[in-house]
């Protein structure tokens, strides 16, 4: 989860450029002092200190701008990741997709299409009511329902693994309707290709 990176590709050149500027701008050492007054014909021209100030300010502006862009892209990647991992929920002993479930799955489609290297594991879960062993089959049916929807909308079936945890992995404890409802879910886990998620084109 902490492995967020600056996207590569189009921004690499700019990143390298600004990296050099930032290195200079961030240096705690002042620029080398001008040499002693000229005593030879080959003495360099005097340095204009105002140009140095302008250059530093400019570099800082570029750095800030790129950092902001990086934050925006980082936020977009994080948002894409959250969309990929968003859970869907089911009614008791049911594996039918609700309208809300379909909307949640629809949002994953452009990300899966923009990142053909992404491989997802769909994990089916149930609440604790019912037989523990039967719940494993029910969880499988729930995971399969999400897979079927995604493949029907163009995602290659080979990119979607299925597992059922039945009622073995509750996220909410207790015997309340609310806990049951939170546990009747499909979870989505990135198993490959999650390091460089491209944000889908709008």
């Amino acid at each position: 989860m902490t492995n967020r990176r600056i996207p590569r590709g189009a921004t690499v050149g700019a990143t390298l450029l600004v990296a050099a500027v930032i290195t200079a701008a961030c240096s705690h050492k002042p620029p080398a002092p001008p040499p002693a007054p000229a005593q030879t014909a080959s003495a360099p021209p005097a340095v204009d200190s105002s140009r140095i100030r302008d250059s530093l300010a400019n570099a800082k502006r570029i750095a800030d701008s790129l950092a902001a862009e990086r934050d925006r892209e980082g936020a977009a990647v994080a948002a894409a990741r959250n969309t990929l991992l968003a859970k869907i929920y089911f009614d008791f002993d049911k594996s039918d997709l609700t309208d809300q479930d379909r909307a949640t799955l629809d949002a994953k489609l452009p990300i899966l299409q923009a990142n053909p290297g992404l491989r997802i594991r769909i994990e089916g879960n149930t609440d604790k009511r019912g037989s523990d062993e039967y719940n494993l089959a029910l969880g499988q049916r729930r995971a399969a329902a999400a897979k079927r929807y995604l493949t029907e909308h163009g995602v290659d079936a080979g990119r979607l693994d299925l597992i059922s945890y039945g009622s073995e992995r509750p996220v909410a404890e207790g015997d309340t309707e609310d806990a049951y409802a939170q546990n009747r879910r499909d979870e989505f886990v990135i198993v490959a290709g999650g390091d460089n998620i491209k944000v889908a084109a709008r």
Binding site: D93, R121, G130, S131, D132, E133, Y134, L136, A137, L138, Q140, R141, A144, K147, R148, A157, D161, L162, I163, S164, Y165, E168, V191
Partner: protein
């Protein structure tokens, strides 16, 4: 009964000091008579539903007290005999004092004698005033060690068979799930121990008929897999006929060669058959058209499979021939019925199937008679699930929440008498072995 005890107390006091001598005198009284008749072997008329009184005499020598306590408890847990707990040495006066034993309510006197590496068992028929059965049982050296206890359980089970015609179930073990591991416990509650690493999250243990192997399911990154573990060596063999997806709830065929299990993929979960210890392709049994079909169990003759299916819209118990034909609803579903029935287990005599059904919102243990489809509810206290028959066709181990956490209990399906098997952290998904020879 009360007057008999009062009389016996007086006699007891009188002969207490003579006991060791009396036991010595009894030692040579061996009989070679081996009644090989089927059923009740000691000439007793055993009527099911009645409980003949049995008196177990004190046992001299190393481990003697443990042997007497184990046999008494085993015969009591068998629920077919009334164990007379009164310690009454007077019974052993000049051979066995049959008249006194009779007064105490005993129809059978069991006289265990430790003789070197053997447990020598003499069973007396009180009414006929004679020794009815004699047999030696090998005793391992390590006193009170698991296999020593199993050997004593084996003697108990034979004693029960001589008296009632049905072998006891003390020399058996029960596998179950606790703390993310498969545990095994002796049927009397002793020697609970994990046989898999803790935290590996195995589920649904099933005994091979020989007792040498357990099958269970484990989670992998690509689904669940059936594993067969050799209990002697600890080695495991994965069932790879269906390598991905859901593979759960194994059950061995009566001959041990085949495992029935449920396999699920994108198109529902169905029952499959695969070779127990080879890697042959699996054969599909059920055609559930995308529904859940799971928890298979073989009939004792191996020709049929009972299983849970959601094909009618909610879980019900069905039976099918092993070739997949003639699938039929077993449990009494009626239109509009939205109850939940699952987790079948076929009784060893083939007459009944135990299962769980939701009654007033909570699961209870039920049995259904295969001949007339009559049902019986065995439990009502707490949530009760996952019944598994003992090899005597009379006792059922199941999971219950009646103490506040899930623990294993054993009920006598005839009398309803129930005892708690496990204590401590939650236990569930029990499977009962067949009789295990002492090794």
């Amino acid at each position: 009964m009360r007057s008999a005890r009062w009389a016996s107390a007086i006699v007891s006091a009188a002969v207490l000091s003579l006991l060791p001598l009396l036991l010595l005198l009894l030692l040579p009284a061996r009989s070679t008579a081996q009644d090989t008749a089927r059923g009740v072997r000691i000439g007793l008329t055993y009527t099911p539903g009645t409980k003949p009184g049995v008196l177990v005499l004190p046992v001299a020598g190393p481990g003697g007290d443990s042997i007497r306590a184990i046999i008494q408890r085993d015969l009591g847990y068998g629920d077919r005999l009334e164990v007379i707990g009164t310690l009454d040495p007077g019974v052993a006066e000049a051979g066995v004092n049959y008249a006194l034993a009779e007064k105490l309510g005993a129809q059978v006197v069991v006289q265990p004698i430790v003789s070197g590496a053997a447990l020598h068992i003499i069973v007396h028929n009180v009414q006929q005033r004679r020794v009815a059965q004699v047999q030696d049982f090998a005793l391992p050296a390590a006193l009170n060690a698991p296999e020593w206890r199993m050997a004593v359980h084996g003697a108990s089970d034979e004693i029960e068979r001589w008296i009632t015609g049905v072998r006891g179930v003390a020399q058996t073990r029960i596998a179950y799930v606790r703390d993310g591991a498969i545990f095994v416990i002796d049927a009397d509650g002793a020697n609970a121990r994990p046989i898999t690493p803790r935290g590996a999250d195995p589920l649904s243990p099933a005994w091979h008929p020989t007792g040498h192997y357990l099958a269970y399911s484990v989670f992998t990154t690509r689904g669940t897999q059936i594993v067969v573990q050799d209990l002697t060596t600890g080695t495991t063999h994965a069932l790879t006929a269906t390598p991905t997806g859901l593979n759960t709830t194994p059950a061995f065929s009566p001959d041990g060669n085949t495992i029935a299990y449920s396999h699920g993929d994108e198109n529902g979960t169905d029952i499959y058959l695969a070779a127990s210890l080879a890697s042959d392709p699996a054969r599909r049994v059920t055609v559930g058209h995308g529904t859940d079909n799971t928890q298979p169990v073989f009939s004792p003759d191996g020709h049929q499979i009972a299983f849970t299916s959601g094909r009618s819209g909610h879980p019900e118990v069905y039976i099918t021939d092993v070739d997949g034909t003639d699938a039929q609803l077993l449990t009494p579903y009626e239109f509009g019925d939205d109850t939940y029935r699952s987790s079948p287990d076929w009784s060893p005599d083939g007459r009944l199937i135990a299962y769980q059904a939701r009654v007033s919102g909570q699961f209870q243990i039920m049995t259904i008679n295969l001949r007339d489809r009559s049902t019986r509810q065995l439990t009502s206290d707490g949530i009760n699930e996952d019944p598994a028959w003992a090899p005597d066709g009379r006792h059922i181990v199941f999971t219950s929440t009646r103490t506040g956490v899930r623990e294993l209990f054993i009920i006598d399906a005839e009398s309803g008498r129930t005892r708690q098997l496990t204590f401590g952290s939650p236990a569930r998904l029990a499977a009962w072995s067949r009789p295990l020879a002492a090794r």
